[in-house]
Amino acid sequence: MRLIDNYVAAVGERLHVSRRSAVEAELRASILDAVEARGASPESEDDVVAVLEQLGSPERVAAEYEPQRGFLVGPELFPHMRRAGTIALGAILVGGAVFYGLGLLLGDLAEFRAGTLLAQTLGVVVRTLIVGTVVLVGVFAWLQRSEVWRPAAAEGARWDPRSLRGRAPSPRAPRFESAVTLVASAVVLLLLDGVGRTAREVGSQAAPALQALASDVVTAAVALQIALLLAFAANVAVVVKGRSFAWTRLLRFVADGVAVVVFVRAPFQLMQYRAALRDSGASDNVVNWLIANAFIVGGIVLTVVAVYWAREWRGGRNRVDPRAAGADATLHSLAMHILVLIVAGGCAAAPGTRSVAEGPTSASTAPSSGIVSPEVHADGRVTFRVHAPDATHAPKCGPGSNRK
C-alpha cells in the first residue's frame, strides 16, 4: 500500500492542482483493480511493483494526463531541473552567507555596518538567483526541445517503483488565504522598508546617544524583512502547488524564529536606551509606555509562535485532517503579518518619534520642556533659548562682549 501511495503522490505532484485530487483518486482505484485482478492484495509488494511498472513511470503518466499544456519544461525533465535548481539555490545561499561572514570579519567593525552589508549581500543573492533561474530554465527548455538528451523515463525504459521516495500526505493549504498572506507580506515589506529608511535618516541627525538605537531599529527592520521574504517564498510555493511541504514549513519556522528574536529583544533594548531617550527629551511616561508596549507585543508574538508550533508538532504526529494544518499555517501566518503591520505602522506613524530621536540638537520645539528656539520677533530680533535645568551660570561671548 505504501508503494501505491508513493506512486499516486509522485504522479499527483506533477499535475496541476485543479485536477490533482481527482486524478489521484481514480489512479488509486485503477491500481487497486489491477492488483486485485492478479489475485493479490495491495500488501503484496511484488504484485504492486508489477502493476506500477506496467502503468509506467510517474513522469510519463503525468505527462499523459496533461498533454495539451504547453510546457516550457515537461514533466519528464522537470524533476531534473528541480534537482539542479535545489543544488544551485543551496550553493548561492551558502555563497551569500560566506560573503556576508567574510564582509563582517574583514570589514571595519568599529563602524556599525551589518545592516548595510546584509542589504548588499541580499542584493547580490537576489540578482544571482534571477540570473541563475533564467539560465537554468533556458538550458532545460532547450533540452526539452532538442534531441540531445531524453530522460530514460520518456523512452519507456524500465524504472523501479521501489525507488520512489516515501511521502507523507502533504497538508493542503487554502490557496486564497495564502494569496491574501502574500499581499499582506508585500504591504508589510514596503512598510518596514519605510521604517528602516526613516530610522537611518533620523539616526544620521540624532543625538549620539540615540544613533545606536536608530541602528538597532534598522537592524530589526532588515531582520524582519528577511523573515518576511522567507515566509513570502513559502506562501508562493503554497499558492502555486496548493499544498505545503517540509521546506515551506522550515522557511516559516526560520521566519518565526527571527520574528521572535526581534520582538522579544525589543523591550530589553529599549530599557538599555531609557536614559538616552530621557536625555533626548522624552518624558518618563512616554518611555515607560514604549517599553510596556514592547513587552506586550513581544509576549503576544512569543505566544502565537509557541502555540502554533506546539500544535504543529503534536498535529504532525497524529493529524487526522491534513487540510486543518494548512489552514492553521495560513491563519498563523496572517496573524503574524497583522501583528508586524500594527507594530511597523505604529512606529512609522507614532507622533513625535522623529523629534524625540532628533533630541535637543534640533531647532524644533522640545516636547517636554515647551521651549521654542530660535524665536524670530516682529521687530527682527532673534531669541535663542537653551534647556539647561542644572546650569549655574550663563557666560556670554561674541562681538562686543568680553569673554568670561
Binding site: 481514480e26 482505484a29 485503477s30 487497486l32 503518466v61
Partner: protein, 122 residues
Amino acid sequence: MTNGGREVTAPTEVIERLTLELRRGVVVLATLSQLDEPSYGYEFQQRLATQGMEIEQGTLYPLLRRLQEQGLLDEEWVVEGSRPRKYYRLTEAGRHARDVLRAQWDHLTAVLGALLSTTKGE
C-alpha cells in the same frame, strides 16, 4: 529495402515513434466505440485487450479523463464492496463524435487502402 546492394533499415526508435503516433490517432475512436455501456478503467482496458486493442493503462486512464473533460464521456463513482470505482459512459456529444470519427475512419481506410495497393516494394 536495398540501396546499391546495401541493406537500408529505418532506426528502431524511429519506427517505434511512428507506430506510437499512428496508434495514438486510433485509440480515441476505439475507446468511443466501446463505451455505450458504462465501464471502469481497468475492466475497460481488459475488454479492449481481449479484442486485440492493447492500450497501456498509463495511456488509457489519462485518455478517459481527457474525453470526460471534453464532454464526450460521463463519469460516475460507484462503491462496490468497500472499493469506489469510476465508471465512464458515452454522452450524446460522445456518440456524435464517435459517428463523425467513424465516417472519417471509413473514408481514410478506403483512401489509404487504394494508396497502399499501388505501393511498390511488397
